[in-house]
Symmetry: C2
Subunit: 673 residues, 2 copies
């Protein structure tokens, strides 16, 4: 096993082995960078190996051939098997191990217990009193009951204050009356609400003595624990097929004056007493934390989706031969084309960048969580702003990268055998859930405008916006200084973000000065504001990438990451260059330099391309892609895969006797007349 690339096996397609032999770095050491420790990278592989030894955990059939019912069943079947092996397979207190186990065994399309673990239990942990925890949380953790979290309504997603579901307190009986007064008030979208769960935390507008207290959480039993039939005054069901996540029964819920005990309101932070007295929570920011938790981890999820697609595309591009560069030579691997490299490699760099930015974000999240436990909320706003921007930018760029990966596979990319379109569907949900991207960008913009205002008032700002009050060069020093560090690039990104933030700020100020109400001025500036947020966030991503490369000790890993960073900085800068050209910060000569560095960089990355994706160590089982197979034996397996098609069950389909034969027969008869 002297090979640096750890994916080489006997019998592999020689074209892919040829690539792996060129690796300049140890792919498993690189995995330690991606997964933040060698131990974590080891554990991933150990878990995968252990899973492979349990035949019942394998997909009964490639998932694209299953109907929705079959997908839901298949996932439930595996949950059952998993529950027998869970403690042998993973440390159940390690989120990363659980996440990996889920990716390998279940995959991204969902399962009947998805929301149970990700939302129901955490919400109970965060919002239930000790007494309530005894009643529900422990049962939930043992899976005596299965729950979900029902917040979104058909008519309202982002604007929580306008949720229409009401929980009206009835002092006489000490009950809340939960009601869905309109079609739009139905809960709509919550995962597993439709068919799988028997409990839900329902968010409803609390009303006491006709006064509206805003959204609060209530525990609602949806179905009989034994028969699973919906309880009286409850209508639940599945909302139908979606772009992806079709193993998940996203559901609707209509509550018809359902009465629940007062003690079913989750009362850790806020209370309604028997007499209807309402007691406020101690600090309002408490409720942020669940959303922020998910957002803080989304960078890594997105990096994973992007890396999955790129693993498929790059591996396939190394065995797919098509066309000639030199007409006298044999057909070349499509990976030799500069256009293909340009289509794929910058996204490889982004996947790494998102992973590194994600690690920093999670660290900040952990710090803020600790701080909050001791009542310290200073960094909460920073974290909220950062995760809002990253969530939006990272999901958007991930979507772009996955789609380019898919297209780079040509026709076969369009087949579900590539599985990239499924990954696309799964990933792209992230542009909308957990805070719609435009809304998120505008939340970050609020924070940026506050900082800009402070700077304009002569104050010094620090932390993530510190660069706003730092000294700036009139002209970028890219290609103008002998030193080889990336500071010149990062300074240029800073300049670009700063310029746009102040442009948006000035526009806003001008409108306010002209007498426009703030809300209208804000709306009229919102495109400029979102641009500012994006540029600020992309600066952060580039910085996080550079910081990581700086910290790496291993020479070969550092060198390989440095190549990716170099590509990243040149590619991203070209993408946003107009902002720096506009005020002469960059000039045409520098643009020529950046372009030539970009192209040089593609050539530099080329020999390591397969190794960069291999380093993510995504097993065939979790990739679920014929094109992305580790061994490169794509074609024969494409043929095998297609045999599963429901249309291939018989040589002649019923549609022939029913429709096609009569059509042709009547034509032939007419011809004979």
């Amino acid at each position: 096993m002297g090979n640096l690339n750890k994916e080489i096996r006997d019998g592999d397609h020689p074209d892919i082995t040829e690539e792996r032999l060129k690796s300049t770095f140890d792919t498993h050491k690189m995995a330690a960078q991606i997964y933040n420790s060698q131990r974590a990278a080891d554990r991933r592989n150990e878990i995968t190996s252990a899973v492979l030894k349990i035949p019942e955990l394998q997909d009964i059939k490639p998932l694209p051939f299953l109907s929705r019912e079959e997908k839901v069943e298949e996932a439930a079947r595996k949950i059952g098997i998993l529950s027998e092996h869970l403690y042998d397979l993973v440390n159940v207190n390690d989120g990363a191990e659980l996440y990996h186990l889920n990716n390998v065994v279940i995959g991204g399309e969902g399962n009947p217990l998805a929301l149970h673990g990700v939302m129901f239990i955490p919400v109970l942990q965060a919002q239930a009193t000790d007494e309530q925890k005894k009643k529900w949380l422990y049962r939930a953790m043992k899976r005596e009951i299965i729950g979900t979290y029902a917040q979104t309504e058909m008519g309202h997603g982002s604007n929580l204050r306008k949720l229409e579901t009401t929980a009206t307190y009835d002092k006489a009986t000490e009950e809340f009356v939960l009601n869905s007064p309109t079609t739009t008030s139905m809960k709509w979208w919550p995962g597993n609400l439709g068919k799988s769960t028997n409990y839900a935390v329902v968010v409803a507008t609390l009303i006491i003595n006709e006064k509206d207290y805003g959204p609060h959480s209530f525990m609602v039993q949806l179905r009989d624990e034994n028969t699973h039939k919906p309880l009286p005054n409850i209508e639940v069901g599945d909302i139908g097929p979606k772009m992806a996540y079709n193993a998940t029964d996203n559901g609707f819920l209509k509550l018809n004056h359902l009465r629940i005990p007062r003690t079913n309101m989750l009362m850790k932070h806020v209370k309604v007493e028997k007499d209807g007295t309402y007691i406020k929570p101690p600090h309002a920011k408490m409720s942020y934390s669940a959303m922020v938790h998910v957002r803080a981890h989304m960078n890594n999820t997105m990096a994973y989706f992007l890396a999955s697609s790129l693993t498929i595309a790059v591996r396939y591009s190394s065995i797919r031969r098509q066309g000639h560069i030199n007409p006298k030579e044999p057909e070349v691997k499509v990976l030799e084309y500069q256009t293909q490299q340009h289509r794929l490699f910058p996204h490889i760099a982004r996947a790494y960048a998102f992973s590194f930015a994600g690690a920093e974000t999670v660290r900040l999240y952990e710090k803020v969580k600790k701080d909050m436990e001791s009542g310290e909320t200073e960094l909460m706003a920073d974290l909220h702003a950062l995760t809002s921007g990253l969530k939006s930018v990272v999901t958007y760029l991930t979507m772009q990268g996955i789609e380019q990966a898919r297209q780079s596979c040509g026709g076969h990319g369009y087949s579900m055998a590539s599985y990239i379109s499924e990954i696309y569907g799964i990933a792209i949900g992230g542009c909308t859930y957990e805070g719609e991207n435009m809304v998120m960008l505008l939340q970050l913009a609020r924070y940026l405008m506050k900082a800009a205002k402070a700077v304009k008032e002569g104050k010094k700002v620090e932390g993530l916006v510190g660069y706003l009050s730092a000294p700036d060069n009139r002209h970028s020093l890219i290609d103008r200084t002998p030193e080889k560090s990336y500071d010149t690039y990062l300074k240029t990104f800073e300049h670009i973000a700063r310029q746009q933030i102040f442009r948006a700020f000035d526009k806003l100020e001008k409108m306010l000065t002209s007498g426009l109400p703030h809300s209208e001025a804000w709306n009229k500036c919102s495109v400029e504001l979102t641009r500012a947020s994006r540029l600020h966030t992309r600066l952060f991503i580039a910085q996080a990438f550079a910081r990581r490369v700086h910290d790496v000790v291993d020479f070969h890993i550092k060198e390989a990451l440095d190549d990716l960073l170099h590509l990243h900085l040149n590619y991203e800068l070209l993408d946003v260059a107009s902002y720096a050209l506009e005020d002469g910060h960059l000039c045409g000569e520098q643009m020529n330099f950046i372009r030539s560095e970009l192209y040089r960089s593609l050539g530099k990355i080329r020999p390591n391309a397969v190794s960069y994706v291999d380093a993510w160590e995504l097993s065939d089982m979790e990739l679920r892609s014929v094109l992305g197979r580790r061994d490169g034996h794509v074609y024969e397996n494409l043929y095998k895969w297609a045999q599963n098609s429901s249309l291939n069950r018989t040589d002649v389909l019923p549609v022939f006797e029913k429709y096609l034969k009569p059509l042709m027969m009547s034509a032939r008869k007419n011809s004979k007349l």
Copy 2:
């Protein structure tokens, strides 16, 4: 019916009627612009109305609820019904009428006879001798047989010269022996090849006396005409589910030394005589024309897909209320947000632009076709270059626009009830089929480099590349001249395209001078070359849009189109501005002007937004979208739609008894111990 917007009906959602009442133009007159004549626009509506009167032509169920078998059957069922009514519904010689009928009745997911009409018959028309036409074409036209065109192989798409299927001439028996020697040589992807068709034109490498004559077309009977069983030495089947087009049985075909008569080779242009003598075709460009035909029409198809998605998104945005601009006022239509306008309106402008550019392209195609009949091939290269660039740019921008439309619908955009993700899947195939986009851009680049060379040599070039030898201004005149025409913008686009074309040319020349072989130099310049092709094509689109607006007579239509053009030019220019900033052609002050025009433009478009999409006159039947309903009654119909979910057939799914109950029961039992 005094309303300018013709979609207003009693009982519609007041929020959408409010929009329509604001229309400044007659939507049906605008439809005449989109569909190129009032007559064509009238006919579309007449056909839709006639179809609505035939209940059997309605979808038995919303298509997203059908399995693949059901989709294939449902489409075949409609083909059967349609064949009874065809002559009453449309003029069968009018491609536009047939296309519209197909969109309304069948939709975009395909049908068992799709390739029969689009490829099998046209190929026979183009390549069969009169005798062969008698034998197969007339039977095909009467639908006594159903055929397809099998060219693409598992291992080869773009590179026709390397097709592995062989047709070896056996002089002794006067037969061709068709063979698939390898897995990769299997035909893979041809539509309807898997299950529906009984004949196919198969493209194979012709071999006579061990000499390779390249790809040729052969008629192959696949299945018994009566039993539909595959004939001996033929293996056919379905290739499995795809991103979309799942009502189409894209198939594979393996030929095992299948013998067919010599006379089954299509011999209109090329001949193999009994003794094996090969007779060449008179002119080689003949074979282009089928591909070019499809590409010439693709702009309009893409415009249609984009307009469909935008119709859904804009209508939905006019009834969806979420959040506040002024906190004291009720929730606003999401269409009021500048970010939403910026997300949607530029794509509306593009849909119109693509339609107008498409009309010009089809006119050029018709002219070239006529010219060719009289042996004139001069414009063929222009047409080929133009359609290559447009195909690539238009499919790419369409994909972007559809995805933005989908995301602009928030969570519900993710549901198949929006149908936008299905439209996306259908449209995006266009980035790959009929010439992969990168390959297409590089084909156009070859043409551009030839023109650039001519200019460098002091020659004057004309036609589509005429601007390369036209005089240029050092500085853009945008915001620098009192006249209000769009010439300043178009000149700036010309400058941008010209600069990039010569930048790519110079880079190529420099590499060639340094001694690099042409093929390698070409590859190393290919990203720059694709950029040149894109900018050239986007210039053409802007020009075509401006030409159309110039030609419109009706004042209100002209004004409304002028608003869209204004948005288009400012938006597109911002998108490519860095090219003009780099050499100082544009300056920061002009950028401020362009931005402010862009934002002003969004406000100008706003009141007409719904009317711009209504003008495409896409009926509910063809849109197949709950969110895009003409009447705006989205929510109650979303609820109705969801009732179709297969998961809603029973209150309790089998998965409960099978997996979830045992899981919970065993946990509860353990708790009691």
